[in-house]
Symmetry: C2
Amino acid sequence: MKLYEMAKAPNPRRVRMFLAEKGLLDKVTRVEIDLAKGENLSTEFCNKNPMKKVPVLELDDGTCISETTAICRYFEEHYPDSPKLLGNNANEKAIIEQWTRWVDFYLFLPIGMGFQHTTDYFKHRMNPIKEWGESNIKAATEFFDFLNQHLQDKDYIAFGRLTAADINAFCSVDFGKVVNLRVTDAYPNLKQWYERMKALPSAKV
Amino acid sequence: MKLYEMAKAPNPRRVRMFLAEKGLLDKVTRVEIDLAKGENLSTEFCNKNPMKKVPVLELDDGTCISETTAICRYFEEHYPDSPKLLGNNANEKAIIEQWTRWVDFYLFLPIGMGFQHTTDYFKHRMNPIKEWGESNIKAATEFFDFLNQHLQDKDYIAFGRLTAADINAFCSVDFGKVVNLRVTDAYPNLKQWYERMKALPSAKV
C-alpha cells in the first residue's frame, strides 16, 4: 500500500501517528507530494484524489482512499488485532468520532483558515481575506480554552486512555504554531496533556 | 433516547433519514430546539453540546453525543441487524467515510458559509463577510459539477446501493437552495439521482 503525504503537513502526521500507535506503520510505503510545488494538482494525483489533498492511501488493487479519518478507519477495521483507537463499542465509537469531528471543525479547520487568510502562502491560488483569517484564529484560541477546561483531572480526552481523539487533537494543537497559537502556561491542563502526547515515540514519526 | 434537533435544519434531517432507512426512527423522542430564538445557547443545552449545535443524541443514562455522523455511527454499531449504511467491511467503511467527509467539507460547509456570509440571518451573532460567502457558493457549485460527473451511469454514490454517502449528499444538495443552488437540467446525472433520492419515504421524515 502507498501513503501519499507531505511529511510536514498535519493531516498526514495524524495518519502516521495513528499507524505507529497500532504498530502498522510498516504496512505503507510513503510517497512524498510537494504541495508548495503544486504536485497535488497534477492529473495523475487528481485521479487519486479529486479534492487534491493529502493524505491518500492507495491499496494494492489501485483503490484510493482520501480523508485522514477514512484512512484511519480502514486500518482500524482491517487489522482488528491492533490496538483499537476508534473505540471498542457503539458508545465509544460515537464519542470518539464526536471528538475527532469537534477537533476537525473547531480547531484544525480554523487554524488552517487562519493560516491561509492571514499569510500569503497560498495567495497564487486564492484570495486571502484577512478579517476572516483573524476571526478563525480567535475561534481556534477559544477551542484551546475549551480543551484546557475539558482536560482538567484527565490524562486523555476520552475513556481514560489514548484514542484517535488525542492523536487528532495533538497534531492539530501542534499545527497551531502556524498562526502563533501555542500551548503556554495559560493552558495548564492542556499543557500537561500536550507534554504527555509529545513524549510518545509515535509523535516523532 | 432523545434527539435534540431543529426539524427544518439539514443536519438533523440527515440523522432522521438515516434512522428511517434503518427502521429505527421510533427509537428516539424528538425534541425541537429553536436556533432562531437562540435556544441552543442556553446553559442547559450547552451542557449537552458545548459546540451549541443540533443534532444531539441523549442516551437514557444522560450521555450526550453530538455530530451527525457520530450519532449515525452509534446507531449503526448498536443495531447491527438493521440495514448497514456505513459499509459492510473495512474497504466500504473507509470509502463511505471518505464520501461523507467530502460532502461535509466541500458541499455542506461551503453552503452553510455561503448562507451565513451573504445573508443577515446570523448577523446578530457574527460579522458576515460577503466576499467569503460568495467564494463558498462558487466552491459548492463546483462540487455540484463534480457530483454530476461522478454519478454518470451510477444509481448511487458508492457500491451501487444506498449508503450514508447518498443521504449526506442528498440532504446537503437540498440545503443548497438557501444559496439558490438548485439541481437544474445543467446537472442531468445529479438530477436523476436527486429525483430517485427524493422519492424515498425517508426523504420526507
